[in-house]
Symmetry: C2
Subunit: 93 residues, 2 copies
């Protein structure tokens, strides 16, 4: 029997890789008066639902999905977490 798992995946640029989008956002914040902000880095956040027999199986699949499609392992890191398998992953404000 398969279960439904909700996953949250975070894809970030490796620390050694320049992040021009982050630099642009930091500059934008500075222009708005937030000159106390530093080290802005922008990544991707992916939410999805998958069916799997066990949490371990779901994690193995997520690992492969990230390596194959969701992240570019040359320049990006990723991490993910499985959330409550019954209630839908809700994101508020």
């Amino acid at each position: 029997m398969t279960q439904t798992y909700h996953a949250r995946i975070y894809v970030t640029l490796r620390p050694s890789v320049l992040d021009p989008a982050g630099t642009a956002v930091q500059s934008g914040l500075k222009h708005l008066g937030y000159d106390n902000v530093e080290g802005v880095r922008i990544g991707k956040y992916v939410e999805l639902t998958l069916q799997a027999g066990t949490a371990e199986e779901a994690e193995g699949q997520l690992d492969r999905m990230c390596d194959q499609l969701l992240a570019n392992p040359v320049i990006e890191n990723y991490r993910f977490e499985l959330v409550d398998a019954i209630a839908p992953a809700s994101v508020s404000k």
Copy 2:
């Protein structure tokens, strides 16, 4: 005296807003054989460091930054968390 706070900000499309990028990723995953995946939604993940007197002050500033620049409140939700104020926010794997 100000303290250093690390923040993680998650920006997601509101549930009522279509997510063509998420649909494309879901289709890509299906073509790779992951036909057990549904509800793919893509958002932004921002990491930054800021100086503030208190955690409350930092949270207030983050709220305003999100409303003014980091998120589009018409179509996006956001949430954020303050991480350990001393050790740098590290993202592994």
